[in-house]
């Protein structure tokens, strides 16, 4: 299973790397696939948090914090590369903050708290006009600079952000794979499955929860920072939109919770089907696949979302071994 996963990753990564020259660096397709890859990054980071048993309805908060942080830093004259990294840090801090505040909340109530958290940031961005530009947002965000030591075609226009989004997704997947195969992953799984018992055995849940939030927030915010450098504007209703909370949740649950590659695959599949097949023909209903995917997963997925929460009794299918495979 693990070998097949790595072969799969290498194949997909290879295809992604040669895609821009194959499409003749077509700006629209590059933009589309980059966005899908960013959603894949956010979905993977959502899944990392879910692996520690924390279901978020508010990843838009982390995505948006990264977006605003990176946009403000870039506009202040920082290099976009550093600005995006700084945005990632801001997202990590913001995520750790809600993780700490809601330490006592579980399941549905944590989900509601994160939903409220994203709405709070949207409200702040609307009202803190001096910094965020208010409802009109910020414009004039610079694009990613070209790199002199690489062929110009590969770094200019949409191609540069495309390759950076490929890199973000691969790094997010690699970090999640690292977590799964380390003591960290065991700690996360322990917090997810039996929070109280883990505490008794010396795994104090709170630091691990906060770490999971910070890691997840970091990657979502990196994606947000890159996103604002692609679209080059940032507005509260765009970047803190519930869209960025729902889609990662749909993609990760549809692709397979706690699996390494499922969320990223589902992100690419669902987003591209929605944008390429449905948007041109039935624009009003191009988000239909997300809603349908969610309904199918909730109602017909074996075990449903129960795998997310501490179960009343241990079940053999949920040993460590089965969770490491791809899709």
């Amino acid at each position: 299973m693990r070998y097949r996963a790595w072969i799969g990753i290498s194949l997909v990564a290879g295809v992604l790397l040669v895609l821009p020259p194959l499409t003749g660096f077509h700006p629209y397709y590059l933009y589309l696939v980059s966005t899908a890859l960013l959603f894949g990054t956010v979905a993977t980071s959502w899944n990392l948090l879910a692996y520690a048993g924390q279901i978020s309805f508010g990843h838009a908060a982390f995505f948006g914090l990264g977006g605003y942080g990176a946009a403000l830093a870039s506009l202040a004259g920082l290099s976009p590369w550093l600005a995006i990294a700084l945005g990632g840090g801001i997202g990590a801090v913001g995520a750790a903050g809600i993780g700490l505040a809601s330490a006592r909340l579980r399941g549905a109530y944590l989900a509601l708290a994160t939903l409220a958290y994203a709405e709070i940031w949207r409200g702040i961005a609307h009202n803190w006009t001096a910094v965020s530009g208010g409802g009109a947002g910020l414009i004039g965000i610079p694009p990613l600079p070209t790199l002199a030591w690489l062929p110009l075609d590969f770094t200019r226009g949409r191609a540069g952000s495309y390759y950076l989004s490929v890199a973000f997704l691969l790094v997010a997947i690699a970090v999640f794979a690292g977590v799964l195969h380390s003591r960290l992953g065991l700690a996360f799984a322990a917090v997810r499955e039996e929070e109280e018992r883990a505490g008794l055995l010396g795994v104090h849940p709170l630091p691990w929860k906060i770490l999971a939030f910070a890691l997840s927030g970091f990657f979502s915010a990196l994606a947000g920072g890159l996103y604002v450098h692609m679209v080059r504007v940032v507005e509260p209703d765009l970047i803190f939109s519930r869209y960025f909370s729902i889609l990662p949740l749909v993609m990760a649950t549809f692709g397979g919770l706690h699996t390494l590659l499922g969320p990223a695959m589902a992100a690419l599949g669902l987003y591209l089907v929605s944008e390429l097949l449905l948007h041109p023909y039935v624009p009003a209903f191009h988000q239909l696949p997300y809603a349908l995917a969610l309904i199918v997963v909730v109602l017909y997925l074996p075990g449903g979302l129960a795998t997310l929460l501490p179960s009343p009794r241990p079940s053999p299918q949920r040993g460590e071994g089965t969770q490491h495979g791809a899709t």
Partner: protein
């Protein structure tokens, strides 16, 4: 802020609170009988509002006549929701949130397709006058909405406490299995609760559209308000819901008077997060009648 402004804010807040009570009741009823949180609640209300607007702009009837029409129009959706909620896997609270998050997205897209995201208001002339009352000026539309909301809440209170159906619904929300063992048809009680709750959503929507501009993404705020009220009042406590609704209405009116409408959404979200953190045991703690 002068004393008169304060009194004005308190009175209009209380009137708004009656409306909030109506809005939260349907959410709380569904939570009671199914243990499911309906995140699409606000979107259903907005849908009812858009239906009301559409009928009003087409027919020119008095908005109050359209309340029952919009209420009836949501009945088919009640059956869909009931079918879906019936099949929810455990943990029900979380899976209902995930499911209705998707349904909320779906409803928003449908409304965006049908009404193209324009702001709409049922600006009927019959509702715009204002009455003077000892120095206070009361908007006639708000008075009518508050009266209609109180009427429905009162009717619901009688229905839930004085009829066989109400006893069945209350027993089902207290303990579904025990109620079934005692021979109560819990499925029928659940289905009728959904039908009634969706009627209330449709009716609430038309009333809402006479007070506030509608836009397809506006539902989330109403859902958050309904959840805040349910946390404050506990599930199924009708009088507490009324008290909490009026308190919330007054808080909102004071926020508006102090700092203007821009802060409204932020205050709602802060209240939700604060209430959740303060009541970290969850909604189930307030489960009684």
């Amino acid at each position: 802020m002068s004393l008169n402004t304060l009194a004005q804010a308190l009175v209009s807040g209380a009137l708004l609170g009656c409306f909030y009570t109506l809005m939260a009741l349907s959410f709380s009823m569904i939570l009671g009988v199914t243990r499911g949180l309906n995140l699409a609640h606000g979107d259903l209300i907005i849908l009812g509002g858009y239906l009301g607007y559409w009928l009003w702009s087409g027919s020119g009837l008095h908005p109050l006549f359209l309340v029952p029409v919009a209420a009836a129009a949501l009945l088919p959706l009640a059956l869909v929701w009931h079918w879906l909620f019936h099949r929810l896997p455990e943990p029900r609270e979380l899976s209902s949130l995930v499911l209705t998050f998707g349904l909320s997205l779906l409803l928003q897209n449908i409304m965006l397709a049908l009404w193209r995201g324009e702001y709409r208001l049922i600006a009927s002339e019959s509702l715009t006058g204002s009455l003077g009352l000892g120095g206070l000026r009361l908007n006639q539309g708000r008075l009518i909405v508050a009266a209609a909301a109180l009427l429905v809440v009162g009717g619901l209170f009688l229905g839930l406490t004085r009829t066989r159906w109400g006893r069945a619904v209350r027993a089902t929300s207290l303990d579904r299995d025990a109620a079934a063992l005692l021979g109560i048809n819990v499925d029928a009680a659940t289905r009728t609760t959904f039908l009634l709750a969706f009627c209330l959503c449709g009716a609430t929507g038309v009333l809402f559209a006479t007070l506030h501009y509608l836009y397809p993404a506006g539902g989330i705020e109403l859902t958050l308000l309904a959840i805040v009220l349910t946390i404050w009042a506990g599930v199924g406590r009708l009088r507490s819901v009324l008290a909490a609704g009026i308190l919330l209405g007054v808080i909102e009116a004071l926020t508006l008077a102090w700092s203007g409408p821009r802060w409204r959404e932020l205050v709602v979200a802060l209240m939700l997060l604060g209430s959740l953190l303060a009541r970290s045991g969850g909604l189930a703690r307030g489960w009684s009648h």
